[in-house]
């Protein structure tokens, strides 16, 4: 059998020193101690592992998590007027808006129209934040919530009521310098 390349005339084989003697003893204990030195040094430090379900990983203030819809604080009316610009901006086509007209006896938003249906399919969302940029009324923002896994895809279609509600468990924010 010929090798796939020409090995040349001289084949040099490098071998580790044979065990035994002083060299062997150093390798057995010296290197182990050097490793243990690192272990001992870090022994007193707290673990970096986050105990995830019990403990939340903090996010940066500009983290783009699950969307939130907002209301005016004074009137309680929704900021969203159902203009669909977020749906137009969405590269994943995951937002669906159906608008309707505000009635004097049933006022939902501040403008003439409001979003009768506002759905975000979070299983499609790529969390790019374009919807937030497109919104002319700051009605939609990217929140901090990132715990979005679920057992059913259809449960990932978030309706307007879900998006307007505050997330149940708030995600911790990263502190200054953290």
């Amino acid at each position: 059998m010929t090798p796939p390349y020409d090995p040349g005339d001289v084949v040099e084989v490098l071998r580790a020193p044979e065990p035994g003697g002083a060299g062997g003893a150093y390798r057995a204990f010296g290197e182990t101690l050097r490793g243990l030195k690192t272990t001992m040094k870090r022994m007193t430090e707290k673990p970096v592992t986050v105990q995830y379900p019990e403990e939340k990983y903090p996010v940066y203030p500009r983290f783009r998590g699950r969307h939130k819809l907002h209301r005016f604080e004074d009137t309680g009316l929704e900021k969203c007027v159902g203009c669909s610009l977020c749906a137009a901006a969405c590269p994943a086509d995951c937002i669906r808006v159906v608008a309707a007209e505000n009635q004097p006896e049933h006022r939902v938003s501040a403008g003439e129209r409001y979003a009768a249906v506002y759905e975000i399919n979070l299983s499609r969302c790529i969390f790019c934040g374009y919807c937030e940029v497109a919104c002319p009324f700051d009605a939609i923002t990217m929140g901090h919530d990132y715990e979005l896994s679920d057992y059913d895809r259809s449960d990932l279609i978030f309706t307007k009521e879900m998006l307007l509600a505050e997330p149940l468990e708030r995600t911790p924010l990263r502190r200054e310098g953290e």
Partner: protein, 799 residues
């Protein structure tokens, strides 16, 4: 062609074209708001189109400056840019910039032009003008006056195109606003067009209000099947629902306008009342939804049992393919000869004579002819879009308009002459016209009309109702219209696809291609008689409810209750179908249909599906093929509407070889294809018209002469469209004030109109223009329809 220079480029264009249009020959776009050639002469109201022309010190409006040879035009220098930015800034001074809530957002010329030509800034810090908003200009149109940029388009439309003279600009200067003259809602047959004309979001559709955004929707081109006008439309579709109907400009058909029925009656597609599954009358006498298989076998059993005792009727939007398949099943599989698609019988000979390709006028001919004669038809009710076309011809091209009708026409004010005859005397008056045209003795009215037509010029277009019949051909010949381009006959059929249905052979006395049949069958009236006496045991109704759409309601009631089998293809359970049909198939809404129609001028047009079928609906040709197979029709199976069209094109010689591709999006007139030479020549003898006895509008000895008409709003689609519900017609009796005085009646009074033991109740509507001795009632209504009455002389008394 002249040569001018624009932005340093030599461009060739026709002379006297407006600069805005001429610039397009050099691929230069000049922004415009108020310029719209369809509205007539430019007004130069918005100043957006300012351009610099060398030799003229000030900037000129491109929309109203005709291009001349050697002109040097600049649109891209600092001076023009500054002017454009200033105009945009000016237009936006009072504009609220509420694009996120505005329905026009995304398809708004003001947005586009502000983005493309505006400076992107404003120095205006004073308060903007405010109006109450949103307001209803009419139940169909919302007006937001803050958004209005006062371009005058809607006002010009109302004043110069629709000529309803309702919209005006109130106040002056910065306080100007668009309103109706008297403050009443803007209700007119063509009011919806201003929604599409408005270049900003000031006029928006109320039914479409906030339904969708331009990026949520898809457009789907088709043809409106609600009247013979067959206007080209684009359906706006979102989530498989039609949300809006827009015009699809086809100068050969509709000139880019739509009537309000065509624009808003789409709502009837998505209502709960629509029939969306097959139904069969159960043991308890109620219609119950069943499977297709069950309904088809019941229908097939009923038809087979009746055999040659089947009578078939077709109307409204029945496509050529459906009509062809049904006539084939009726003639070939069942051996019956009784089928009809006409409201009043017109013989094959007469149809051949008036459909002769040498005598056909086209729709644009109405606009460019020397004279137009409207004979025994009311365009706004019978073929609405032609009303605007005739007005355009009279206003812009000085067409001489003559009107001869029983009922005063809405076009009378535009007519050079209008004469009245007694209701039902259309054919007789046409015969008088023929005599007058031949120089034979005739009435003064007929002589004056013929003199007017002759004086105006050689190109005369006669727009007439189908029921006038054979005299039309004689009249066209007597006026020398044969083989003359730009002149001839335009015959308005009684149903939306009346011409197509008769050309595919849905007639008692003619087969496909108006071919002769061995033995003519019964026409609609005779079918009713035969069914009432039991000679016909099965009735097959395609898109027609005889109790509503055909005369002699009582006879039809007897016929429908006597018939053992009544099969109906329908969208709505109108009275006759609800009470008498044994099998009901869901007909398709026109946005679901796939097929072809034939326009009254011979243009074949495609109806294309925009949405899927509601409920269990199926394609009409599919249902008819299945039914045909079950009753033993042995023909190649129809698997697509294209196959149906191919079979049809084989059977109709003058449609030979026509395909869906050839018809395309704009349609094609069969008279312009080589196959038109296969049209069977009419027998020369049939063109002879014997002069009928003189029937003037004079009062009869006793009682009043009854005329009927079908309003544009009399259709189930209008009744079931929530937005149009306010237009749903109620029976009113139009009468002359002198008759009302004689009978002691006043406007708005409830009366009973009776004859021969039948009666309808109506409200008196006095009209000065109604000839004394005649009264007019509406047909096609759900209740109190004029077809209850059986004679032509009625008594009117207070209810």
């Amino acid at each position: 062609m002249i040569t001018f220079s624009i932005d340093g480029r030599e461009v060739q264009s026709p002379e006297n074209l407006m600069l805005v249009d001429a610039a397009k020959y050099g691929d230069v776009e000049i922004p415009v708001f108020c310029y719209e050639p369809k509205l007539g002469n430019p007004v130069g109201a918005c100043r957006m189109c300012l351009v610099e022309i060398e030799g003229i010190p000030k900037l000129q409006t491109g929309c109203s400056t005709p291009v001349k040879d050697g002109m040097v035009v600049h649109t891209q220098n600092t001076r023009v840019h500054e002017a454009q930015e200033a105009v945009v800034e000016f237009l936006l001074i009072n504009h609220p910039l509420d694009c996120p809530v505005c329905d026009k957002g995304g398809e708004c010329p003001l947005q586009d032009i502000s983005f493309g030509w505006g400076g992107g800034r404003s120095r205006f810090i004073e308060p903007k003008r405010h109006f109450q908003k949103p307001l209803e200009l009419s139940p169909l149109i919302a007006i937001d006056r803050e958004r209005c940029i006062l371009c005058y388009r809607c006002v010009r439309y109302s004043q110069e195109v629709a000529e309803d003279y309702q919209l005006v600009l109130q106040e002056r200067g910065a306080a100007s606003y668009v309103a109706t003259f008297d403050g009443h809602p803007y209700v007119a047959p063509f009011s919806g067009n201003i929604i599409e004309l408005c270049p900003v979001g000031a006029l928006t559709s109320r039914p479409y209000r906030f339904r969708a955004r331009p990026w949520d929707i898809e457009g789907s081109g088709s043809v409106c099947t609600m009247c013979p006008g067959q206007c080209n439309v684009t359906f706006t579709v979102r989530d498989d629902r039609v949300l809006r109907v827009l015009q699809r400009d086809n100068a050969e058909v509709d000139d880019g306008w739509l009537c309000d029925r065509g624009r808003f009656a789409y709502q009837a597609i998505h209502v709960d009342e629509r029939v969306t599954s097959p139904m069969v009358r159960g043991q308890d006498g109620q219609l119950v939804p069943v499977s297709w298989d069950r309904a088809l076998s019941e229908a097939a059993a009923g038809l087979t049992a009746a055999g040659s005792a089947v009578g078939a009727l077709a109307g409204s939007g029945t496509t050529n393919e459906e009509g062809f398949l049904v006539q084939r099943i009726v003639r070939e599989a069942l051996g019956s000869r009784d089928l009809d698609s006409q409201r009043a019988p017109v013989s094959r000979d007469a149809l051949l004579a008036i459909s002769d390709p040498a005598l056909q006028a086209t729709v644009p001919d109405l606009e460019f002819a020397h004279a137009v004669l409207v004979l025994d038809t009311e365009p706004v009710d019978d073929m609405a879009i032609l009303d605007l076309r005739i007005r355009k011809g009279v206003r812009r091209n000085h067409v001489k308009l003559a009107i001869a009708s029983a009922r005063p026409s809405s076009l009378d004010a535009n007519a050079a002459a209008s004469v009245r005859f007694a209701p039902g005397a259309g054919p007789a008056f046409a015969a008088e016209l023929v005599s007058a045209a031949k120089g034979e003795p005739s009435s003064d009215d007929a002589r004056s009309i013929v003199a007017l037509l002759r004086e105006a010029g050689e190109d005369v277009v006669i727009l007439a109702s189908e029921r006038v019949g054979v005299a039309l051909a004689a009249l066209a010949d007597a006026l020398g219209l044969r083989d003359r381009a730009g002149a001839g006959l335009l015959v308005v059929p009684s149903s939306a696809n009346g011409r197509g249905l008769r050309e595919v052979g849905f007639l008692p006395d003619a087969g496909p291609g108006l071919s002769p049949v061995a033995e003519p069958g019964r026409h609609a009236g005779q079918i009713a008689e035969a069914a009432a006496t039991g000679d016909i045991t099965a009735l097959w109704l395609l898109g027609i409810d005889p109790l509503r759409d055909l005369p002699y309601r009582l006879r039809w009631e007897q016929a429908l209750s006597r018939a053992a089998t009544v099969i109906a293809h329908t969208n709505f359970l109108t009275e006759g179908i609800r009470d008498h049909a044994t099998v009901v198939f869901p007909a398709e809404a026109y946005a679901e249909k796939d097929g072809t129609l034939t326009h009254p001028d011979g243009r074949l047009q495609r109806v294309r599906p925009a949405i899927g079928h509601s409920g269990a609906g199926r394609y009409g040709w599919q249902v008819l093929t299945d039914l045909g197979t079950r009753v033993g029709l042995h023909v190649p199976r129809v698997l697509t509407s294209g196959i149906a069209l191919a079979q049809l094109a084989q059977a109709v010689p003058f449609y030979a070889g026509i395909t869906q591709d050839e018809i395309g999006g704009r349609g094609i007139r069969w008279q312009e294809r080589p196959a038109a030479s296969a049209f069977p020549a009419p027998a020369p003898a049939s063109v002879n018209v014997s002069p009928a006895p003189r029937v003037g509008p004079s009062a009869p000895a006793s009682g009043l002469r009854l005329g009927t008409f079908r309003s544009i709003w009399a259709s189930p689609e209008v009744e079931h469209s929530p937005a149009l519900a306010f237009l749903r017609p109620r029976q009113k009796i139009e009468m002359a004030p002198s008759d009302a005085d004689r009978l002691g009646l006043g406007d708005g009074q409830r009366v009973l109109v009776s004859n021969n033991g039948t009666q309808v109740s109506a409200t008196v509507a006095l009209r000065q223009a109604i000839p004394a001795g005649s009264v007019f009632l509406q047909d096609g209504l759900a209740e109190d329809s004029a077809n209850v009455l059986t004679g032509s002389i009625v008594e009117v008394r207070r209810a």
